[in-house]
Every structure is written in C-alpha cells, then in structure tokens.
Symmetry: C2
Amino acid sequence: MVEAVANTRASAAYARIREAIIVGRHQPGARLHIQDLSDELQVGPSPIREALNRLVSEGLVSQHDQRGFRVASLDLKDLDDLFDARCWANEAALRASIQRGGRDWEENVVLTLHRLRRAPRLVEVDSGLRGAQWESAHDEFHNALIGACGSTWMQNFCQRTSDAAARYRAISRAALGGQRGDEDEHVAIAEAAIARDEDKAVSLLTNHLRRTRDLVFNSWQR
Amino acid sequence: MVEAVANTRASAAYARIREAIIVGRHQPGARLHIQDLSDELQVGPSPIREALNRLVSEGLVSQHDQRGFRVASLDLKDLDDLFDARCWANEAALRASIQRGGRDWEENVVLTLHRLRRAPRLVEVDSGLRGAQWESAHDEFHNALIGACGSTWMQNFCQRTSDAAARYRAISRAALGGQRGDEDEHVAIAEAAIARDEDKAVSLLTNHLRRTRDLVFNSWQR
DNA sequence: GACGCCAAAAATATCGATGTTATTAATTGA
DNA sequence: TCAATTAATAACATCGATATTTTTGGCGTC
C-alpha cells in the first residue's frame, strides 16, 4: 500500500504522516505545525511541506493559504457522501472485474481472502501493529476484488475512498473498543464474485459497505 | 474551476503549472526543471516544488525520487483506462442526480448548457483564449449534470478524470486542427436528464464520452 | 464587564546557499 | 571505432535564515 523505504526525506515524511492520519494518530481537524513535524521526524521544514502538499491533493490534509495545514476533518455528512461514492465506484469496478477477470483474478481473490482470515484481529485495544496488519490485509482483499476491472483510474479512486473510510473506522474503533466480526461477509462476497454472480456479489458488497457506514454512524458522538 | 488569484506563491504556481499541463503547453512526458519553472514564474524553488508535489498526487505530474519531476505521460492504454472510469463514474453520478435533483439542479443544467452553446468555439488553431473559454463552459456543463448526485467525493473524481481527458482532447485538437461539433449531443443529454429519463440520458452521455475517446484514438500518432 | 485597538509573539511562506546524486563529457585502453 | 572508466557539469533535495502574516495577550476606553 505504501513503500516501506523512501529514497527522499520528503517521501519518507509523506508516508509517515499519511499513515499517522489514516490510523487516527493525527486527529481530524488538528493543526499540523511544520515545526512539530520537523522535530518529530528529524528533518527540515522543506520536506515536511512537500509531504503535506501531496497530502492536500489527496484529501487527507486541508490547506488554507497563510494559515497552514490541518488534518482534513470528518463529519456525518461527509460520511454519507463518501459512502455513496464507495458504493457506486465499487459496484462498477466489481461488475467489470467479474466480467473480465480470469483465472489469475480468481486466484488472487482466494489468496487475499485467505490472508485476511488468517490476519490477527485487533484483540487488545492498543495493539496498534496487529490492527495495521489486519487493515492492510483487508485493503488487499478489496483491491483484489476489483483488480480485474481494467481501469487503474477507478482502482486508485477506490483506494482513496478506502483510505478515507479507514479513518472513520479508526474513530469508531476507538469509541467502541473493538471491531465487528465481518469475516463471513468477506467470504460470501468472494464466493459470489468467483461464481460470477454479479448482482449477488454487488449486493453483498454494497451491504458490507453500508454496515461499515452504520457502525461509524452509530458510534458517532460529540 | 481554479481560483484566478492565490494568496501564496505556491498556490499561484500550482494553478499556472496545472493549467499549462492541461492545455498541453507542457507536453506529456516532458521534464519539469525546477530552475526553468523558477525563472518562468519568477519565484524561488520552494514554491515550485510545493506546487509540483500537489500535482503529483493529482496524477498530472510524475515524480521519481532523486530524478525530479516530469509531466505525466499519456498513451492509448491509459486512454481506455480513463474512458472506462469516466463512463462508470458519470453513469452513477448522473443517475443519482436525476433521482435526487430538484428545481435548482434543472435550472443549473439549462443555464450551463446555454452558456456552453454561447461560448465561442475554437475557430483559429492558436486562439488559445477562446479554446480555454469553451473548455471551461464545457466543464461547467458536465459538472452541472452530476451536480445533484449528493457526493462531493464522486464529483471530485469526475472532475479529475475530466481534467485528464482535456489533456487528450488538446493533443487531438493540435493534430486535427479543430474541434468536432457536439452541441447537439449536449442538448440531447440535457433534455433527457431534465425529462428524468435515466437510461436515455446515461446512454447519450456514455456515447458522448465514447465519441471523444474515439476521436482521440483515431488522431493518435507517433 | 465587554469591546476594540495596539503591541508582542508565534507560525507561515519564501529565499538563497549547500551537500549529494544523476547526467553528461572527456579520456583512456582495447 | 567502440566500450568502459573517470572527471566535470548540471540538477535535485535539503537546510538555515528571513520577511510577512496571523494569532495571542494586554491595555485602555466606553
């Protein structure tokens, strides 16, 4: 999902700040002071600013001229906005994948599903590493599902919306103290997809996304 | 589409470089030297680099660590890739708009269509301003069509794919020396949309996009 | 006690300079 | 003449310092 090593300080800073935002370590709406990040990551201001500028176009950071950067904020309206986009994009991409996908696609779906089921769930609340591992496997599985759609543009968009959704999941997880058990849903989606049952697969996937949305919605407070 | 004035040199540089890429003044694959841009825009290297970093996440510029920036390249495979994404995204967004749109949406479609028809076409090959004016009106119309879909995320994605498509159009225009007459297509799409005929509107819009793709495809050479 | 104004402090956006890495040119040996 | 190695050049990534702008805090007035 993101390169472990980077040849440039800006790229390294980009990866780390990005991760921190998605995981929720940098909270929505919080200001991102150049100096603080500079101290934290042990690099000068320039690479930090370059990293932040990349994140701006990615929608993870918002920028106001002369007033610095802050973590893009989240709210219920945006949650529904995002939910719609995810449904539409994933539906189209999944249908195309089912139509166009070959053996390699099927095998990749099976493989990533297996890895997802094997990935450790978040048992204790603060075992960050385990959570990250599961999130990564989860990501891989959903990418595999739409991996044969034939459009990198659409896949990138799905990835981006998925990143945004991960931020909401992190909040909900922090509020509820655990994750829901949705292994069955993933299995069902994979089976329908491989069986080339477009409508069923889409319906299962859409409901899967909706349940995620509802979980976040219900755990929302302030 | 993009703010005319910017309070910061980085934002100003961003807008100008972006425009230059979309219009095709910076050609696909061309290297973007910091120094050159610095001289051209009369600002130091830092704002230029920040601008380029934003464009990287936007997909208009590619970056290779330690090897600088270059204009994102275009090819026929990417054209089809992009075409699929545009069709899927616009179909979903248009359907939602037709279902959810109210009076204000209808009126905006009519208004932007009128402005598009009134906008001067590109008569002479190098009258850049006129072309830009039409491109802008064209953009506004397509945005208006999906303006009531309810998802900013999806609208932003459509905008982004539309920008990429504009780059292909610029190439094809330069090769052919003119634009095709597609006023009728826009009128038909608008009418079907306002008549709330989902399937017809979607079909017209999809064909509209396909014709654009075909035009570019046929004018491709090197 | 609240509002507005002014000064002090902090933070940003930008510059110019420098170390490092890639690219080009020159040179040597086969 | 060409390949490979090395020197020279150019470009990039990064730093540290500075000018501007925003924010904060205090002060006086209504």
